[in-house]
Amino acid sequence: MMDSWLSEERDAHVLGLLRVAFATLLLSLTLRLLRELSLGPYFGDVFHMPLLPESLVPTRQVYGLLLGCQALGCVLALLGVLARPALLLAALCGLYGFFCDRLQYHNNRYELLLLTFLVSLTPCDRSFCLFGSSRPGTAPRWAARLVGAQLAIVYLASSLGKLADADWRNGAVLLPRFALGQPFVAHYISTSVAGLLAAPWFAHAAAVAAISSELFLALGLWFPATRALCLWLGVMFHVGIELTARVELFSYTMLSGYLAFVTPELRERSVSWNARSQAGQLLGWLCSRLDFLARFRHEQVDGQATLMVARDRSGLAHSGLSAWRELARATPLLFPLWLPLRVLTWGERQERN
């Protein structure tokens, strides 16, 4: 099993998007570090705590050069020029700078650098290239599994750390955080909801939910039966974190990493729109634009009885809300709608074509 896992070759199209996402995220971090360097003192000239020996901490000029190389690597990777070596260079420069001062340690930055390093080992240079032609087809995909494993490790380490901490388990860590949000909730939502945020039982329940979610995310992503639910939960989890806490690029990093769990094969589903309806034409065009993971074959059918018919991987045809559910399941920007639609269509019988 391990051998087949290490030597499997599958379509590499989606990995190009993974490269674009991580090059963009790392470029954003690099620009921030360059701005900090230009506006303030260099960390090596003031109080700092290197993880490497002090003699390996670069001078201000060398550090600036490293950041420059890092930014250049990101830009080249983004454009698709020498994409893999450029991304690898950017990740290595970033990791070196990162280990030069533990005071600048942020989980999200460390995770971003590790994931970028792993993405550079995947065949991520075969698609989404602004310069040079795409090379569609299969390629070794073992490193993409490592990207997934890296996500799982973060969820697992975080959840086990919380599980081992009595203050976390009983809600003592969350309660003061909720208290900070109380005035906002009281002002914009309702005082009764704000009262809920002050209740220790609510903080305890939220802590149990957070730990369970992280554990589920660490394990559930690996099983086809739970993957979609897990991805949906992960999207909600990170959107929630993004809205309520300042976590730099953490949410974007983890959500981008979810691309490693996308089934590599392309256009195994289809969606057909009623070509006679203006709405069908417009929505068909829009959905084909939103389908950047190339999940669907897009068709316009003359005289189709319903606005839209979606066929899943097994060829089952879905219409009405079920069709929208199938569309949401495989279209990233519509994915948050998938679970509500799944619940609404729970009892519907699927019509075999």
Partner: protein
Amino acid sequence: MAPFARAAFVVAFFGLELAGIAWGQRAPDHVLGFQMFNETSRLTIHLFREVERNRKRVLLPVADGRWKAPDANGKLRDYAWQDRVRYSPLDVLEKSVHARYGLAGQLFHLQAALDDVVRHIPDDESTRALVAKVDTMKNGAPGPQLQLRAEKP
């Protein structure tokens, strides 16, 4: 890359990372440990200089982190805690601030900051040590006031 080399890479990469996580779980600041939102703690740092008065050591509060002290020639020089310590939250004195990555982590960093600053004030002839008294609050519950100290070399 041959499958054997891939397997070796996987073992080396994740072995190193997991070792880092295990080390980070025990490190006071949980560096490399992926401990997200591990605490909701706060600290207030009160900084003091320890000087000699009538052969006794006394603590003088350092307002806003700034003080004046004579050098070997008796000339008064200006010093500031924030000249060396630019790191948030340790650059904020006399004000309650969030202890990022936990109280233990920030106390660990504060001790290192005190050690660093006393090493960088060789011209200050009057300061014998820097002392930080720290009011703590761990996960919403008030904790003890702790005292950290760094003797000038």
